[in-house]
């Protein structure tokens, strides 16, 4: 399972990568916003996307919409990990087809639960 972690803060990318490794996902790559992430997704063989919302360049919500609009990527599971916690935003992400939504600050257990739930639904 190859996972792309998108966040503009390197510390947050590092935290998520460490947590993913602890859960057994060792094949991860990083991008610092949607603009760099989208071509990586289009040209790579990623199975899963973890993205922040608020980033310079292309925001996470727009990356999610671009992924859903791309025939090759449309079915890729997307987990949002973000500090954005307005109800409208969560609804917007749900309507755009997000598979899971985690608000920062979060715990290792939350990440584990959401990942398991997403995989459960896919199987």
């Amino acid at each position: 399972m190859k996972i792309l972690v998108v966040d503009d803060f390197s510390t947050m990318r590092r935290i998520i990568k460490n947590l993913l490794r602890d859960l057994g996902f060792t094949n991860t790559a990083e991008a610092d916003d949607g603009t760099t992430a989208l071509p990586m997704l289009q040209n790579g063989d990623y199975d899963f996307l973890v993205t922040d919302w608020n980033m310079p360049g292309m925001q996470g919500i727009d990356l999610l919409k671009a992924v859903r609009a791309d025939a090759k990527l449309a079915n890729m599971p997307v987990l949002m990990v973000t500090a954005e916690q307005k109800r409208e935003q969560i609804v917007e992400a749900a309507q755009a087809g997000v598979n899971g939504y985690i608000v920062k600050p979060f715990t290792a257990l939350t990440l584990k639960e959401k990942l398991e739930k997403i995989f459960e639904r896919i199987e």
Binding site: I15, N18, Q59, A83, K86, A94, Y101, V103
Partner: protein
């Protein structure tokens, strides 16, 4: 804006009576002359009022511009605050990375201790049940010796990492001091801005409605007590909201 009683004077009443008489007499040129005179009186009042306002505004701007503190804030304090806040970001970034370095060093050490312990467990259990011959016991004793040596070294490494994590938290004290200074500056700027607003507008309306941001614009982390409207309080509420949407 113009004083009503300033217009109703005996002179003006005489002028209006004159105007009526001139009109009734059919004197076209005379009517024009009286009307011009009246218009002139009215215009000069407006010019005077405008002149007064311009002077007041000019004085206000001069007073405001001559305030050394404002010049100082603009030229020095704000760029200074910007640099200090940048330093706060650098310090927190460094602390986070230093902490994660220490954690990443310790994790494989702990994993090693864990696997060595579980390897010994099985042999140790057989020894306790006296299900072990002399040769096996000799091997176990050797393994135990190595285990204790390695554990002593590894525990020391983990202790060093933990101390390093502890020391990396010193940023909190330093960044708080810097941020407090910037808050004091923001208060000063606020005072000056209130002064400016009340100079330029006599009816400074303190109840001006806070313009709501577009809900779908990224708002950044919600601050308790400031961003409570329309915001979920944590992961549980996110989960409830999503499950109400059929997730």
């Amino acid at each position: 804006m113009l004083e009503a009683e300033g217009l109703i004077t005996e002179d003006n009443i005489a002028r209006v009576k004159d105007l009526l008489a001139t009109m009734e007499a059919g004197n076209e040129a005379g009517v024009k002359e009286v009307l011009d005179e009246l218009t002139h009186i009215r215009e000069s009042d407006i010019y005077q009022e405008m002149g007064k306002l311009t002077r007041e505004l000019h004085d206000a701007i001069k007073t405001f511009g001559m305030d050394d503190q404002i010049a100082n804030i603009t030229e020095h304090d704000i760029p200074d605050a910007r640099a200090r806040l940048k330093h706060v970001i650098d310090m927190t970034d460094k602390a986070a990375n230093r902490t994660m370095d220490a954690v990443e060093e310790s994790l494989p050490i702990c994993a090693g201790m864990e696997s060595r312990s579980s390897n010994l467990h099985e042999a140790w259990a057989r020894f306790r049940q006296r299900d072990m011959d002399v040769n096996e016991f000799r091997e176990l004793a050797q393994q135990l010796g190595t285990f204790l040596d390695e554990n002593t070294i590894d525990a020391g490494k983990v202790r060093n990492s933990l101390n390093d994590i502890l020391m990396a938290q010193d940023f909190q004290d330093l960044t708080s001091q810097i941020i407090k200074r910037v808050i004091a500056l923001v208060e000063q700027v606020e005072d000056k801005l209130i002064g400016l607003v009340s100079l330029t507008s006599e009816q400074f309306d303190k109840t001006i409605e806070h313009k709501e941001k577009n809900g779908l614009e990224a708002a950044g982390p919600a601050v308790p007590g400031l961003d409570d409207a329309g915001v979920v309080s944590g992961q549980d509420e996110v989960d409830d909201l999503l499950s109400s949407l059929g997730f």
